[in-house]
């Protein structure tokens, strides 16, 4: 029996009720991966034996009458940037090829505690740097809507795993749009929670002040179920917020936008966005207004500097974070012939182990942080960050949530932007501001362009008001009735 098109909420309920077993569900999705992943390349590792063993343990626990976790028996695919004890974690890089971590990320542990079946690790741009998943050292992931096109990135593998129903749920990470943009490109729901809402312990850091893990799902309610399991305070992450998880599941279950003020960000509309993206955005706003929401326009004048600030802050933090890949304690080591010095071995290893985009950003960050340039680049970027946070504060005094198109275009052909960094960076123009300010964002699929490629709409909410995303997202989902499949 195939469960490919059964929602995660229904899978969890059916397993708990004994309508079908966790093993049947795991087998169905493992079969689906086996059938489709030669073409899609969404997975870097598939844990067949581990998934079946977990599923059997869930079935046995149920037979004994034990209480089951909220995700008991539901397969989840995990981006290969979160550590998984006993399962390889490569970050899409040759630097970590074959590395098997000795510990679980807190997100991974939360999944296990909830009874989730970790089905495999998903492909990604190397160290989460990219918007197309073409920067993976292990080959690009392909978009199930058109295998000649990119799936977005950096969490392209996780987005495709859900879009192609290789898994009902998956986890990605979002530093400047790496969950929301691939969600838009593949026609699924993707959420970046409030910064600090989900633990970063065991998330291999790209930019520590921006990174946040979050869920991918085919429905808003499924995303909420996974969000609630992932999130929560973690003493092992000192930036984790010590407050209750926002009531996302309840919000998704009762998505009533009557009286909700939805702010359209003036600076993130217009000519820079593909025609069909603009049209579907406007239709979505009309649908939300019909459902009782009040549409208002807000102005965020400093957003035009967000991309520039981001491409200083991110490389600065990344160059510092990636200094730990020094060929000494774990990962690749190249050129250690007994004669070369430790510094020579480091330089040879990093040259061999890192791909072009990673090297580019390491050098950019090294430059922005070097004495003489620090104030003009990194220092100024941090001030812009303050101005963007202030723009959001003003906007949220006029609106409960903000809405923008998620990405300026639909999925583009493989190879089109791979050696044109600035044009690739523009993909995240609408998603970066939320990371800079630390607020939550969600992409919801709203339609297809003239070529049949998915389009996403982004909602943003104030910090720790993630539940509002699920109200707005749930209402839009209900109004649109999205049923398209790749």
């Amino acid at each position: 029996m195939s469960f490919s098109y059964t929602n995660a909420v229904d899978l969890a309920a059916g397993i708990a009720a004994g309508d079908f077993s966790a093993r049947e569900v795991a087998t169905s999705f493992l079969d689906r991966i086996a059938e489709t992943d030669d073409q899609l390349n969404a997975f870097l590792a598939v844990d067949v034996s581990g998934a079946l063993a977990t599923a059997d343990a869930i079935d046995a626990a149920r037979a004994r009458g034990e209480a089951l976790g909220p995700l008991a028996g539901v397969p989840v695919a995990v981006k290969d940037v979160l550590t998984t004890k006993g399962l390889p974690t490569t970050c899409g890089s040759k630097m970590l090829e074959g590395w098997i971590p000795a510990y679980d990320a807190t997100v991974t542990a939360n999944l296990r505690n909830a009874g989730a079946v970790i089905i495999g690790k998903t492909n990604m741009d190397e160290f989460a740097m990219g918007s197309s998943t073409e920067n993976s050292a292990f080959g690009p992931t392909r978009n199930p809507w058109d295998a000649g096109r990119i799936p977005g990135g950096s969490s392209g593998g996780s987005a495709v795993a859900v879009a192609a129903r290789q898994a009902p749920l998956s986890i990605g990470t979002d530093t400047g749009g790496s969950i929301r943009q691939p969600a838009a490109m593949t026609g699924v729901v993707g959420v970046k929670p409030t910064y600090g809402g989900v633990s970063r312990y065991g998330l291999v850091a790209l930019a520590s002040s921006l990174d946040q893990a979050g869920p991918f799902a085919t429905t808003v309610a499924d995303a909420a179920m996974l969000h609630a399991v992932m999130a929560g305070h973690d003493p092992r992450d000192s930036t984790s917020i010590d407050a209750p998880v926002p009531p996302v599941v309840q919000a998704a279950a009762n998505p009533d936008v009557k009286g909700m003020r939805i702010g359209v960000v003036k600076q993130l509309t217009g000519e820079g966005f593909q025609r069909e993206v603009r049209e579907h955005f406007q239709e979505s706003l009309d649908a939300l207004a019909d459902a009782g929401a009040e549409i208002v326009e807000v102005s965020c004048p400093h957003f035009e500097y967000a991309l520039a600030a981001y491409y200083l802050i991110l490389p600065s933090e990344a160059s510092s974070n990636l200094a730990k890949f020094d060929a000494m304690r774990y990962g690749l080591r190249v050129g250690d012939d007994g004669d070369r010095s430790v510094e020579q071995v480091m330089a040879l290893t990093r040259e061999a182990g890192f791909g072009p985009e990673v090297k580019r950003r390491i050098m950019l960050g090294t430059y922005a942080l070097s004495s003489g340039y620090y104030d003009a680049y990194y220092g100024q970027a941090q001030k812009v960050r303050t101005l963007i946070a202030n723009d959001f504060a003003a906007a949220f005094s006029q609106a409960d949530v903000l809405a923008t198109p998620t990405a300026p275009t639909t999925a583009f052909p493989l190879g089109e932007k791979v050696d044109d960094p600035l044009s690739m960076y523009l993909q995240d123009i609408a998603t970066i501001p939320a990371n800079l300010a630390g607020i939550p964002g969600m992409s919801v699929p709203v339609g297809l362009d003239d070529q049949g490629l998915p389009i996403g709409l982004q909602f943003m909410a104030p910090a720790m008001a993630d539940d509002r995303l699920y109200v707005a997202g749930g209402a839009l989902e209900a109004a649109i009735g999205w049923e398209a499949r790749p």
Partner: protein, 98 residues
Amino acid sequence: MPAISRDEVAHLARLARLDLSDDELSHYAEQLDVILTAVTRVGEVAAQDVEPMSHPVMLDNVFRADVLQPGLTAEEALSAAPAVEDSRFRVPRILDEE
């Protein structure tokens, strides 16, 4: 004048411990110049009186009680090391001969 020269890129690569080839140096010099020219815009706004923001969550020091907690065993910590000797990380020589 470009924002960054090829020599500066070579210097950055040394600082960042990247043994770049000549071709890479030329290629990155070109690309970094384009990127730096674009990001220089941050200088157009944000006057003296704007506070820099390093982090979205303003936290004071976060402390925990000073109690022992289980960590990795030596064996686990060494399990992924490129080279091990006598239960320690084995590394290349750290001093130059000259």
